[in-house]
């Protein structure tokens, strides 16, 4: 909030599917080295924000600044070259391709050297040893948690500076979800990776994040540090109590 030039700054962003407005002027800032959580109910526009950063759908109005440069009109496939990586909602791994090939797909777009690729692969395997065990298996044969690890690992293979995670705990057993969150924390602390995480599991996400934004009906209604938001009575009522996972 205080940094002079955030890594990613979203200013007055509008996006729509046909006539249905999904984002109605969203302002979000993500500083380098932060974990920022975006929480909100179903249909609040969280995933749309994630996808609009990647240019699908295109922003109707507003600006997306990455490292101070306007990337609002950059084609979708070029955004990955800017070292922004995304682990999309629903994991979307390639089911008939092997784990190794899935990871390689993440590395293919970047201009990294084989040595860099090798070290990134080692890093991914250190974070998610299960992927190393299963590297020759087809992606579709993995369990849900392993598929999520693969989706994150695939995103990491492009050596991103900013990682966008869409609902990483969706449909996972609590124990596995915790492993995923631990890995995200490790990536942030040890590798200095900046993370924007969209979650319905507000409790987990706000504990993990430095800062959080609450989204309702395409607008940011609350912002603050993770701990602060966790204490807010309206947050507790809306997203935590009764909805605790």
């Amino acid at each position: 909030m205080t940094a002079a030039s955030p890594l990613l700054a979203i200013r007055g962003l509008h996006a729509a599917y046909g006539k249905i407005e999904a984002l109605k002027g969203v302002d979000v800032e993500i500083n380098s080295g932060e974990i920022v959580a975006l929480i909100g109910a179903n249909g609040a526009g969280k995933s749309t924000l994630m996808m609009t950063i990647f240019g699908k759908p295109r922003a109707r109005a507003g600006q997306i600044l990455y490292e101070g440069k306007d990337i609002t009109a950059v084609p979708t496939h070029e955004i990955a070259h800017l070292r922004i990586a995304q682990s999309p909602e629903g994991r979307r791994i390639f089911p008939r391709m092997s784990v190794a090939e899935n990871l390689q797909m993440g590395a293919d777009v970047t201009e990294s050297t084989p040595a860099e690729r090798e070290s990134t692969l080692e890093r991914v395997f250190a974070l998610f040893p299960r992927l190393k065990e299963r590297f020759a298996q087809r992606g579709g044969t993995l369990s849900g948690g392993e598929q999520q690890m693969l989706a994150i690992g695939r995103a990491l293979m492009s050596r991103p500076r900013l990682l966008l995670l869409d609902e990483p705990s969706l449909g996972l057993a609590p124990l596995i979800a915790r492993q995923i969150f631990d890995a995200i924390r490790t990536l942030n602390r040890q590798d200095g990776l900046t993370v924007l995480i969209v979650e319905q599991n507000a409790n987990h996400a706000l504990k993990l994040a430095h800062r959080g934004y609450v989204m309702v009906n395409g607008l940011i209604t609350l912002a603050g540090s993770g701990a602060e938001l966790l204490q807010r009575p309206e947050i507790r009522a809306a997203y935590l109590e009764g909805g605790r996972h």
């Binding site: 496939h77 999309p88 979307r92 791994i93 008939r96 797909m105 293919d108 065990e133 492009s158």
Partner: protein, 439 residues
């Protein structure tokens, strides 16, 4: 047949269930056949309608359906539900992997020796050339359908573009086969991109319809553009290929005369055989190479999930267009070969049936599997010839064979897909990495 899923969840066992199934099928047969078989109608001598009943035949048909459906039901219960993976004993498994490892090299060596073994059997050589043409077409279409997952029902269009490119360039300008071959491939690839542009947003059924229409458009243009293509009369007198300028004929300039051996028309057939074999192997080699490169992986990823591809920074537009262009180029090569082999081409050779046949080869072979496509081409084209003695029943037998393959091997003859990325180091996973709980 009823859906197998009903049997996997609740297997119908016992005599009452069997009788019930048989009875239901018999009733359906009765309804269906009562008019078709039960009543025979004919125009009488004065044009009036005469008819008579054939209840005996009807009864025997219904009885046959009743008995047959019980037999099928028993067989199904005995074999077990289709689709379920059966446990294979290790000995059989290792035997199968042994066959799998050596089948492709053995087939290749056999293919190389075909002209030697069957030198005096012109019929078999011609058939082998035909099979190899379809192997090449299958491998070409495999890039589009098997790897990139774009259902193309108009592949024959590129075959036609290649064939007409060579035929027209050779007859009008007298260019040699070896100059025209790459040109035919480039022109076909160009048309592939041209088809690719309008269908970039389409997938599945919609894409299939547009490609089907594209195939028909090309054929209709060939029929109606009489001044260029000769219309339905086609192009005749297409030059035969030469061995780098040396013709394979009975003249003093011919290869036989230069080598000082006696001329035989089989020389040309053998040459054509090795030519199409080389072209097919080129297709195979390029495809295998591309699969290991980012572009080939991108094709396969595109087949799996387009949204994920975009998120990973893949330009889906160029990826799709290159798939169309590569597949079309190989179709064009095969077309040029077809033209030089036949010496005569007409639009009749490029009907939808050809597209369907090539697509059937790819699907039956197992989408994306090179060996499977080759085996499927061999069994489809070879099968056509094998069943020639059955005359009118040929297509019936053929259709049955296809249905049976799809029941027992729904992913095609070779459904296995070999991965292209391996870890470099030998995998020794330290125990501290794998100690976590399994969930």
């Amino acid at each position: 047949m009823t859906a197998p899923s009903t049997h996997t969840t609740k297997p119908a066992t016992g005599i009452p269930a069997l009788l019930k199934t048989g009875f239901i099928n018999a009733v359906i047969a009765l309804v269906l056949f009562s008019l078709m078989v039960g009543i025979r109608t004919e125009a009488g001598s004065e044009g009036q309608l005469t008819y008579w009943t054939r209840f005996g035949e009807l009864a025997s048909l219904v009885a046959a359906v009743f008995g047959g459906s019980i037999v099928i039901e028993l067989l199904r219960q005995w074999i077990g539900p289709t689709g379920a993976e059966k446990l294979v004993p290790p000995a059989v498994q290792s035997g199968m992997s042994f066959v799998g490892r050596y089948l492709a090299p053995a087939l290749l060596i056999f293919t190389l020796l075909v002209p030697v073994i069957f030198y005096n059997q012109r019929y078999i050589l011609d058939l082998a050339i035909l099979v190899l043409t379809y192997v090449m077409l299958g491998w070409g279409l495999n890039v589009v359908v098997g790897l990139a997952g774009l259902l193309d029902l108009g592949y024959v269009a590129f075959y036609a573009v290649g064939a007409y490119s060579y035929a027209l360039l050779a007859t009008n300008f007298g260019w040699s086969f070896w100059i025209c071959l790459p040109l035919a491939g480039i022109l076909a690839a160009f048309w592939g991109v041209l088809l690719g542009f309008p269908v970039l947003r389409l997938r599945g059924d919609y894409l299939a319809i547009v490609t089907l229409a594209f195939g028909e458009i090309i054929r209709l243009v060939l029929i109606n553009w009489q001044t260029l293509t000769g219309g339905p009369n086609g192009v005749s007198g297409i030059p035969r290929p030469t061995l780098f300028g040396i013709p394979l004929n009975n003249s003093d300039e011919g290869l036989a005369a230069k080598l000082g051996i006696e001329y035989s028309p089989t020389h040309r057939i053998v040459f054509l055989f090795y030519l199409i074999l080389a072209l097919a192997l080129l297709t195979n080699w390029v495809t295998i190479r591309l699969r290991r490169l980012p572009i080939g992986r991108a094709w396969e990823a595109l087949r799996e999930d387009e949204v994920a591809c975009r998120a990973l920074g893949i330009n889906t537009t160029t990826t799709k267009l290159t798939a169309f262009a590569t597949g079309a180029m190989f179709g064009g090569f095969a077309g040029a070969f077809f033209a030089t082999r036949q010496g005569f081409i007409s639009p009749e050779s490029f009907t939808f049936q050809e597209s369907a046949l090539v697509l059937a080869i790819v699907v039956l072979g197992g989408m994306g599997s090179q060996l499977g496509v080759a085996l499927a081409a061999l069994s489809m084209i070879g099968g056509f010839e094998l069943f020639r003695g059955l005359e009118t029943y040929r297509m019936l037998v053929f259709g049955w064979a296809m249905v049976l393959i799809m029941i027992w091997r729904p992913r095609g003859l070779v459904g296995h897909r070999a991965p292209t990325v391996y870890l470099k180091k030998a995998q020794a996973i330290s125990s501290d990495l794998v100690k976590e709980g399994h969930g």
